[in-house]
Amino acid sequence: METDRAKLDNTIAKYGNDRSLLLSMFQDIQREYRYLPKEAIKYVCEKLNIPVVKGYEMATFYKSLSLVPRGKHTIHVCMGTACHLKGAPGVLEAFERDLKVKRGGTTEDMLFTLESVNCLGACALAPLVRVDEKDFGKVNQTSVKNIIDEYKRGE
């Protein structure tokens, strides 16, 4: 993907060229492109005089940063203890089947990235699914379909 140098410069300037704010810069870039393009990591690090490997360490450490393009929406299927007991594995399977991707993968139309998490802290609603910032409680196979449809319709 082409990365826009001027935009990257703006991002760096927004954080006052402060290298301790690298993570914030990366998050902004991630939001913009829905991933961290390699060129962007290299460019920002070089501008800030940080070894590229430090940027790469950071990019591979935080789950919110991704080196490959991600879908427009992220579906988090909770696999924490409570959700697990309430049938989360079946929910994950249903998503995998309906979206035709494996956990961690992104659909071909770039609409969804499927992830699992361990406990979102709303165990009373188990099994829980979070799409972007929205929670869906007591999910079953039918509601999996409805959730996917809801976001597809929104397009």
């Binding site: 390699k38 591979t60 450490f61």
Partner: protein, 237 residues
């Protein structure tokens, strides 16, 4: 200065000094895998554990990073608890790196020949001591490699798992690695390391391949010593 006992021998140390340094000064032997005089401590391997007794309690600490204080009364370098913890650490390391003869040898000293844990097959001999990374960053000064990823997937690698512009092919990481994990090969005037190929310089006096051209260029730039001088190998200089 404070006084306390290590294995019943009275020792003296400055407050804030690390226990490992004090113990070694007095000739006690404590195994380490991630400590190096030139690099200092990083607290990664945990084989350097000792037991510290204060007025209030006893506990196991990593000696390479534990500062001496007035509270310390006694230190044990080989008590039953120390041996138990060290044995467990080595057993875990052996499960991670079953191919490492260094780890195998150390573990055997604590009676471990086969770990009870599931053995890894994808870690090679790397125990993630971080010494290669610290050497590359602090001694060589190029930061070509780092600890990439997290959790069980963590590994040492150059950025993007490909040949790095920063790497000068010096091989300092290979020299410092306690387990011999890092692959480096010199063949037909080419050095291969970290997925990068380096042309080796030929000494004009003895005709021997001796160092990557890129490394010599790096040194030349840093020290202002002209390339012609650096191209002569250290034996002929």
């Amino acid at each position: 200065m404070v006084k306390f006992k290590i294995d019943n021998k009275v020792v003296e140390a400055k407050e804030g000094e690390y226990l490992l340094d004090v113990a070694r000064r007095y000739g006690f032997s404590i195994p380490t895998l991630c400590h190096h005089e030139a690099l200092g401590s990083d607290g990664r391997c945990r084989v350097c554990v000792v037991e510290v007794k204060t007025r209030w309690r006893k506990r196991i600490v990593t000696s390479c990073l534990f500062p001496v204080s007035k509270d310390i009364e006694e230190v044990y370098t080989a008590s039953e608890d120390v041996k138990l913890v060290r044995r467990t650490v080595l057993e875990l390391l052996l499960a991670r790196c079953p191919e490492s003869d260094v780890i195998r040898y150390m573990a055997a000293k604590y009676g471990i020949t086969e770990p009870r844990y599931k053995k890894d097959t994808d870690k090679g001999k790397c125990i993630l001591c971080n010494m290669c990374v610290r050497t590359c960053e602090n001694i060589v000064g190029v930061s070509a490699i780092g600890i990439i990823g997290k959790g069980p997937e963590k590994k040492i690698s150059p950025p993007f798992r490909e040949a790095s512009d920063a790497c000068i092919g010096c091989g300092a990481c290979v020299a410092v690695c306690p387990t011999g994990h890092i692959f480096m090969e010199d063949k037909d005037g080419i050095r291969l390391i970290w997925r990068k190929r380096f042309e080796l310089a030929v000494c004009p006096k003895c005709g021997r391949y001796h160092a990557p051209v890129e490394q010599l260029e790096f040194i030349s730039k840093k020290t202002n010593v002209p390339m012609e001088e650096l191209l002569v190998c250290t034996n002929c200089r």
